[in-house]
């Protein structure tokens, strides 16, 4: 617990997370400048997001965890309401309806559900005896399913999988019975062909097929993976130098400022640069691991655990996609990729983690 006492109010923070996230954000801005081919417009916009994101993170870390516990239901209902608005009023980009356009700012409500869902489940499950009984399990699964299907039909496979996982992380950490896990896993395996044929869009199936055989069609759907691998591989040990990546600067690499920004880092800073970035992420994860083990109560434990696992899942889905061992799904690299709501959602998530970690339980009150 870290606490700065001022005359009028107390300031709650965690120095390790605060410093490493601010540091990561600044590195992100520097890399984004090169990845956007020195576009000042993108950098100014991203700087504004980073600035307000850090302030938001600090603000969000001030309330007591009880505040989140009590209001988690409202947060979730509000997020689902925004999702429903998106279905009717969302702006369509490339056949997907994911955004609510507020003129000065486009909001992606699925990014909010990503946070609201695990907090709600933590607040629902924190006082349930072990193992979680069938009724609570089904209720949790119902909530998870509603959130999941609202997103999967946007369509947004990447985010929906993260939301699905976020829900199950909390359910699992809260003590889901092994028997239930075993039997539902068996059902999942059996229903895979059905899911493949009915749930996935053709382009999503294509992306997964591409993963297993990228060389079969290097200039078609596999273009992204092929170019990403070339970018990473040609970086070598120490990289081509800042701003000197040919793959990113000559437009061979797709989505350089968002999904494939790791390839830019690997191309320009090489293996050493990639290791350095992974080290920072690993440091943050270990800190979250430590904080969740030492959280003040079960609700905080579950929330820190759930939110930090969303963070690590996002990182690994992105890296797995960029290095070519997972299918191509839209997934940003947290604190590095450009992007509005997704970036802000991680500042909010870490704000809540810091809140959970830095507020001691006020037993005497």
């Amino acid at each position: 617990m870290r606490l700065l006492k001022f005359k009028r109010f107390n300031f709650f923070y965690d120095p390790y997370l605060l410093i490493s996230i601010i540091f990561l954000s600044l590195i992100g801005l520097i890399i984004l400048y090169s990845a956007s081919q020195e576009s000042s417009a993108i950098i100014i916009k991203q700087s504004i997001f980073v600035f307000f994101g850090i302030i938001l993170m600090i603000i969000v870390s001030q309330p007591d965890p009880a505040f989140y516990k009590n209001l988690s239901g409202l947060f979730l209902i509000f997020s689902v309401f925004l999702m429903l608005l998106t279905i009717f009023f969302g702006s369509e980009v490339n056949g997907a309806k994911r955004w609510l356009d507020f003129g000065f700012f486009t909001l992606q409500p699925s990014e909010l559900i990503k946070i609201a869902l695990p907090i709600f489940l933590a607040s629902y499950l924190y006082d349930k005896p072990l193992p979680i009984n069938l009724k609570d399990t089904f209720f949790s699964i119902l909530i998870i399913s509603i959130s999941f299907f609202l997103i999967v039909f946007q369509p947004d496979l990447g985010t929906s999988i993260v939301v699905l996982l976020a829900g199950f992380y909390v359910l699992f950490l809260a003590g889901l019975s092994w028997r239930f896990i075993g039997s539902s896993f068996a059902i999942f395996l059996l229903s895979t062909p059905f899911l493949w044929n009915n749930l996935l869009q053709p382009f999503q199936r294509q992306r997964i097929a591409t993963l297993f055989n990228p060389e079969a069609d290097p200039y078609g759907t596999a273009w992204n993976i092929t170019q990403s691998k070339i970018a990473i591989g040609s970086g070598g040990i120490s990289g081509k130098g800042y701003g000197a990546g040919s793959q990113s600067h000559l437009d061979f690499l797709p989505e350089t400022t968002s999904d494939f920004i790791f390839a830019v880092i690997a191309e320009e800073f090489g293996f050493l640069g990639a290791l350095a970035l992974l080290s920072i992420y690993t440091f943050i994860l270990f800190r979250c691991f430590y904080l969740s083990l030492n959280a003040r109560d079960r609700f905080c434990r579950l929330t820190i655990g759930g939110l930090s696992l969303i963070f690590v899942t996002t990182i690994f889905v992105n890296l797995g996609m960029v290095v070519g061992i997972l299918p191509v799904v839209g997934m940003p690299l947290p604190f590095i990729s450009s992007g509005g709501t997704s970036l802000l959602s991680f500042y909010i998530a870490f704000g809540i983690i810091i809140s959970m970690a830095s507020h001691k339980k006020l037993i005497r009150q």
């Binding site: 072990l130 070339i230 990473i232 070598g236 000559l250 061979f252 083990l293 079960r298 690994f316 061992i325």
Partner: protein, 612 residues
């Protein structure tokens, strides 16, 4: 609420489960690190090359073709820079209105328009350029330049044209260039550094290769080597900047043995009649004249010709594309007589004093069939010398009658008949020496004595090309040996051919030369009318090749109404005597009289060669 015991169990379960998940992620992290290691360290060089190939775009630069010179250093074929109006059909929507638009500021002829429409579709499909108008003048360039922003699919560029100042005179010898066939193109491109990349053209026609003549025979030497230009490109293939350039290597120039002046003289002397003139330098076997008439403009053929104009040429009954000098098959007629004489002396069938009585015809003893001479009443008492000078058919009928046909065939073949005599000519016809075996296979009938008799005056089945006649003429002039013919000056790997003769000696050669000189210089000679046309002595033998076998002069007067059935005029000659430098053969189709019609042409060419 759950109690303390349960809280302890719950916390332990949480730690256990979180640790499990982190362990799984740790494993996954190792997997990602391993993959990054594979990409960046293990397979670095492979990906480094892939990235380099991505960002570079190589283009071949077409080499400039070598020049073709005549034996005196005169340029026969050169590359002329022209400013061409070039379109990119792929970017043109409506070719008709496109041409109409251009007409507003540059005149497009109907022929140019026709070529444009003809090639538009295929050029658009393969995204190739199409030349609309060649040789823009300064005013045309200027009027395009001020409007060019309106025409993204048009540009003016300097491109070379293959060009000769003597397009019709040398067309058959030089040949023309054209678009290579698929096989030729893949061979040409295989010599480039980047066979599968696009090419920056130096020629208005794009890829070119020799199609006929010297352009074809020496295509490899003339072509040169491709250069390359390397650009940096982005993912859309846009060229960003030039990284490096390697200039193409110009093709080798060809120094031919051809003499420009003699072609001009031959052209003037033939004056459009169908025929051929071949002249060679006796000492070297170099071809100095290789002329066929009528002709066509190789500039047109090489640089674009409309289909109409081409069809007119190819459908012309005069067959202007037919290279008569190399492929025309003519009976040698009386020009064969010196060869028969050499055969008679060598085989001791006759000597110089041996004479016969010529009544104007020869009767085949076996069946009494009559073989007529060209002069009614005959030439009286005739020996070999007189037989050559007056061209007595009876003498050579009877000599051939006494000859062994197989031995005679060998003899002809040593003189160059029946096989190709030039080592580097394009598409030469070997002619034909008829033999009993040939006749059995080809005509399915036996050899008759009459066939041999006909051979004595160069009629019947035997055919020779003008270049064979020139070779034969040179062989006689050089007294029995000569180099195989070639179009290249100072040919290093030339080899000499000779006739194997035991009984025919230097003295016999001199007598033969004297007899052939008398063909012109003797008052009785068949070509005595040529005497005054020259200031040096020329040995010659004329011939008149009959196309229809007839029994009397009256019959011929009937058939000569039809020009195509008139006799071919033939002449072989060499001079100046007594030490000849050049040998020449002339064939004029349907020219009728060898001495009177083909003779002056031969003299004009020899004069040009000797007196220039």
């Amino acid at each position: 609420m759950i109690d303390l015991q349960e809280r302890f169990i719950e916390r332990r379960s949480f730690i256990y489960r979180l640790f499990l998940i982190y362990f799984l992620f740790g494993t996954f992290l190792l997997l990602i690190l391993y993959q990054i290691f594979q990409l960046q360290i293990s397979n670095y060089s492979e990906y480094e090359i892939a990235a380099l190939e991505n960002k570079t775009h190589e283009m071949n630069i077409q080499p400039i073709r070598g020049l073709i010179y005549d034996r005196n250093g005169e340029v026969l074929v050169k590359n002329v820079p022209t400013f061409n109006l070039i379109s990119i059909p792929n970017k043109v929507n409506d070719p008709n209105s496109f041409i109409d638009d251009i007409r507003n500021f540059i005149d497009i002829t109907l022929e140019e328009e026709a070529i444009f429409y003809e090639k538009f579709k295929s050029k658009a499909r393969y995204n190739r350029e199409l030349v609309i108008k060649r040789n823009l003048n300064e005013q045309q360039i200027a009027s395009f330049e001020v409007r060019k922003h309106n025409y993204p699919s048009l540009f003016v560029e300097k491109r070379y044209s293959r060009y000769t100042d003597y397009p019709s005179i040398l067309s058959h010898a030089l040949g023309y260039i054209g678009a290579p066939s698929d096989a030729e193109l893949s061979k040409i491109l295989s010599e480039a550094l980047h066979p599968r990349q696009e090419t920056i053209f130096s020629y208005g026609n794009g890829f070119i290769s020799g199609k006929t003549g010297i352009e074809k025979t020496f295509d490899n030497e003339l072509r040169g080597k491709f250069g390359e230009k390397v650009y940096e490109v982005d993912a859309r293939g846009r060229l960003l900047k030039e990284i490096s350039i390697k200039n193409p290597e110009e093709g080798k120039s060809i120094f031919t043995s051809l003499d420009l002046g003699s072609h001009i003289a031959a052209n003037k002397a033939l004056n459009g009649r169908m025929g051929a003139v071949v002249a060679i330098e006796i000492e070297t076997g170099e071809i100095v004249t290789l002329f066929s008439s009528p002709s066509f403009s190789i500039n047109d053929l090489s640089n674009g010709i409309s289909r109409d104009k081409f069809n007119t040429l190819i459908n012309s009954p005069q067959k202007p594309f037919f290279n008569r000098a190399l492929k025309g098959r003519y009976p040698p007629a009386s020009t064969i007589k010196p060869a028969i004489g050499i055969f008679g002396l060598e085989n001791k069938l006759i000597d110089w004093n041996f004479s016969i009585e010529d009544p104007g015809f020869f009767t085949l003893p076996e069946d009494g069939r009559i073989y007529r001479g060209w002069k009614k009443g005959g030439h009286g008492k005739v020996n070999l010398n007189k037989a050559i000078v007056v061209s007595s058919n009876t003498y050579f009928f009877s000599l051939a009658y006494r000859s062994d046909i197989n031995k005679l065939g060998d003899h002809f073949s040593q003189l160059g008949f029946g096989s190709k005599v030039c080592i580097d000519c394009f598409d030469e016809d070997p002619g034909l020496i008829p033999t009993p075996e040939w006749k059995r296979n080809k005509l399915n009938s036996g050899w008759s004595l009459g066939d041999t008799v006909n051979l004595g005056v160069g009629q019947g089945y035997m055919v020779a090309t003008p270049i064979q006649l020139a070779y034969y003429s040179g062989m006689i002039a050089n007294k029995g040996f000569i180099n195989k013919l070639s179009l290249i000056q100072n040919q290093e790997d030339s080899f000499s051919e000779l006739i194997a003769l035991d009984n025919f000696k230097e003295l016999d050669w001199n007598k033969l030369h004297r007899a052939m000189t008398d063909v012109i210089d003797s008052p009785a000679g068949t070509s005595r009318r040529l005497q005054d046309l020259k200031s040096f002595k020329v040995a010659a033998k004329s011939g008149t090749a009959e196309l229809v076998s007839l029994d009397s002069k009256e019959d011929y007067l009937l058939i000569r109404e039809n020009e195509e059935q008139r006799d071919h005029a033939i002449m072989i000659a060499f001079g100046p005597m007594p030490s000849p430098k050049y040998a020449v053969s002339v064939v004029i189709e349907n020219g009728e009289s060898g001495g009177a019609v083909a003779g002056p042409v031969a003299i004009e060419v020899l004069k040009e060669l000797i007196e220039q």
